[in-house]
Amino acid sequence: MKSLRWIAVGLLLLTGIIDFYYGNSNAGFYENLWYVTGGIYVFAALVIAANIEPKFSQLAVFAYTLFLWTVWATVALQTGTGLDAVAYADKASEAILAANMVLLFRSTRASVKLC
């Protein structure tokens, strides 16, 4: 379970850094939103690393990841924006993160039940 948690922390930091990079480098618009989403990812990495309220925080991170993924997909389908290599990397990282959070959450709940 520990390895799952540290993989999650790594993915959260990676996604946050990609978001910061995208906000800084993207010559488009609404780039400030990427700073906000990146900041939340880094904050979430700290929460997951510290294992604070894991049953709640892991579920929240999972939902947050899916939420952002859906927002991006919906906006991209409508407007054609956010379809570039950096955004694809960011969303691939988020997809792996979501799968990782499912495994981590299952593992956390299972260990609690065993106790």
């Binding site: 010559a27 618009f29 049953k55």
Partner: protein
């Protein structure tokens, strides 16, 4: 927490419920954002830029009588900007088109007013281009930085100055 309703739900049900809430709310927010930004999405904006001589005596006023028309170009950040410069002056004099940093541009200068004639020069990633009498040009760049930036003719300062306004 295990005594609450949240704790009593199975892991799978919790994950499914969280996924449904996240996806539904994400789609709702995405549709809203997509609707709002649809009108601001980066696009190609084309402008025609002319040189104009105002009817006053330069010697008396001690400033050039040349100006740009229009003297303000407003675009959104991320827009691809195409400027067709047309020399409509009757007096034989050259001009330059300069842009304030960090902007640079690509330019194709033509030998006559129709922009269909021979190409006098092609320039890439420059911040200054020179037009001879009756030459015209197509200037292109991407509005990557928000703010207000001068475009000007360095020969006819201070009057031949315009401003690119990029809304970020």
């Amino acid at each position: 927490m295990t005594g609450s309703g949240f704790g009593k739900l199975s892991t799978s049900k919790l994950l499914i419920a969280a996924a449904i809430v996240a996806i539904v709310s994400g789609a709702a927010v995405g549709l809203g954002v997509g609707y709002v930004i649809h009108y601001d999405a980066p696009t190609t904006r084309t402008f025609y830029l002319f040189d104009r001589s105002l009817p006053f005596n330069e010697t008396v006023f001690k400033i050039p009588h040349d100006t740009w028309v229009p003297d303000t170009i407003t675009v959104n950040k991320g827009d691809h900007v195409v400027i067709h410069f047309l020399d409509t002056e009757s007096t034989p004099e050259g001009h330059t088109y300069n842009m304030d940093p960090p902007y640079t541009f690509d330019a194709v200068v033509y030998n006559n007013v129709t922009q269909g004639g021979s190409v006098a020069g092609t320039f890439s990633n420059v911040n200054r281009v020179i037009f001879g009498q009756s030459q015209t040009a197509t200037i292109t760049f991407t509005a990557s930085w928000a703010g207000t930036f001068r475009y000007y003719c360095e020969i006819h300062q201070p009057t031949m100055t315009g401003y690119l306004v990029v809304i970020g």
